[in-house]
């Protein structure tokens, strides 16, 4: 059997993390290719509902990346993210989904290396956790 290759969604905010991902690419930093990046205007526009829906449809992990606290383009957008993403992780834990499948981190536009590091770590984590059990569940 081939090795488990996780399927991961990354929500990157337009102003910092997406530019950071871009920088990582321009610098030719090597990282796993399991991550599908979705560009959003602000990490606060990532409704917890989207994260939950992705997990319930069998995505193995969700990364939410935003600007550092205080650097948000919309001033307090990432304050909301900082509160609701941890809460989402707690809520999904209660129905038996591993909370480590949701990760929130801050990556600025200058941190290409940090993007590489976060993605590599997260893919390793997800590989150790295994595939999302909900992928197999038929309702």
């Amino acid at each position: 059997m081939s090795e488990f290759s996780p399927n991961i969604l990354a929500f990157c905010c337009n102003w910092c993390s997406y530019a950071g991902a871009d920088l990582a690419g321009v610098n030719r930093l090597q990282m796993p290719t399991n991550v599908n990046v979705i560009r959003v205007m602000c990490s606060a526009s990532v409704k917890p509902e989207y994260v939950i829906k992705a997990l319930s449809q069998g995505i193995d992990g969700v990364l939410v990346l935003g600007c550092h606290i205080g650097d948000c383009h919309y001033l307090t957008g990432n304050h909301r993210t900082a509160k609701r993403i941890p809460l989402t992780a707690k809520v999904v834990e209660k129905v038996g989904i591993d909370p480590r499948r949701i990760r929130l981190d801050w990556v600025s536009a200058a941190e290409g290396e940090k993007f590489q590091q976060v993605v590599t770590e997260f893919v390793e984590d997800i590989k150790s956790i295994g595939p999302n059990p909900l992928r197999e569940v038929v309702f």
């Binding site: 917890p48 509902e49 939950i52 829906k53 997990l55 319930s56 449809q57 606290i69 919309y74 307090t76 304050h79 909301r80 900082a82 509160k83 609701r84 941890p86 809460l87 989402t88 707690k90 809520v91 999904v92 834990e93 209660k94 129905v95 038996g96 989904i97 591993d98 059990p133 909900l134 569940v137 309702f139």
Partner: protein, 244 residues
């Protein structure tokens, strides 16, 4: 509350109406009935017979500008021991008790304890079994005193087109997440559920998470939901934030 056609029905009394034969066993969420009646009563004050859960729900509604707290007078009704046991209520005593006597809260919830003690795989299997029963009647949403969004997310195609009936995992987890900062644990969702999904246990666990993360309990009249404030606790500018 009054007996009508053999059932207990809510009754709105205006000045001069005789109260007639009233009953104190409230099978509805009074806060929900209030939020329906409120727009039709443009002025004057409304007195509501309110249990602790109604009281908390009214606090949540007034924080979100759906009702004006100054226009509402609360008549505190303490639940009987049987009612408390039926609801597995953790907080049965209203702030001022005008009717009835306070009973002791039920601290431990057998369903919550059971789910907590399970390993993740068993927990997932348990909830999957429960959610498979769901026929998406929206009873939990319609009867919820703190469900007040104009456009319900769960009626949004994005979230419910998923797999028809049963609606899948996301439906209930989204509702749990959505209510985490406002659920008053009245248990109406569980009571109205035709297929007996233990929804109250899910709500209680989400409320415990809120408490653990932010030290916040829904129904707190003085504090805004932490999900609607900055990390320092300042309110986020009005207009930027949807009330839900």
């Amino acid at each position: 509350m009054r007996t009508e056609h053999g059932n207990v029905a809510p009754v709105l009394l205006a000045k001069g109406d005789g109260p007639g034969e009233l009953r104190a066993d409230v099978p509805y969420q009074m806060a929900m009935i209030l939020s329906r009646v409120y727009p039709h009563v443009p002025e004057g004050r409304i007195a509501v017979v309110a249990r602790r859960c109604d009281e908390k729900a009214i606090a949540e509604l007034s924080k979100r500008d759906i009702v004006d707290r100054d226009r509402i007078a609360l008549i505190g009704l303490a639940c009987t021991k049987e009612q408390v046991a039926e609801c597995r209520c953790r907080d049965p005593c209203p702030e001022t008790v005008d009717l009835g006597e306070c009973s002791d809260p039920v601290v431990e919830d057998p369903v919550v304890e059971k789910v907590r003690s399970m390993p993740p795989e068993a927990r997932l299997a348990f909830w999957t079994d429960q959610f498979r029963k769901c026929n998406k009647c929206y009873g939990c949403t319609v009867n919820c005193p703190v469900c007040f969004c104009d456009d319900c997310l769960l009626e949004d195609k994005t979230f419910t087109v998923e797999k028809g009936i049963p609606p899948g995992m996301a439906f209930h987890v989204i509702r749990s997440m959505h209510l985490a900062d406002k659920c008053v644990e009245c248990g109406e969702c569980e009571r109205s559920c035709p297929v007996d999904i233990p929804l109250l246990a899910l709500r209680k666990m989400a409320n415990d998470d809120m408490k653990e993360l932010f030290g916040y309990t829904a129904g707190d009249a003085d504090r805004k939901s932490p999900l609607l404030t900055t990390l320092e606790g300042d309110p986020i500018k009005e207009g930027d934030v949807d009330a839900c």
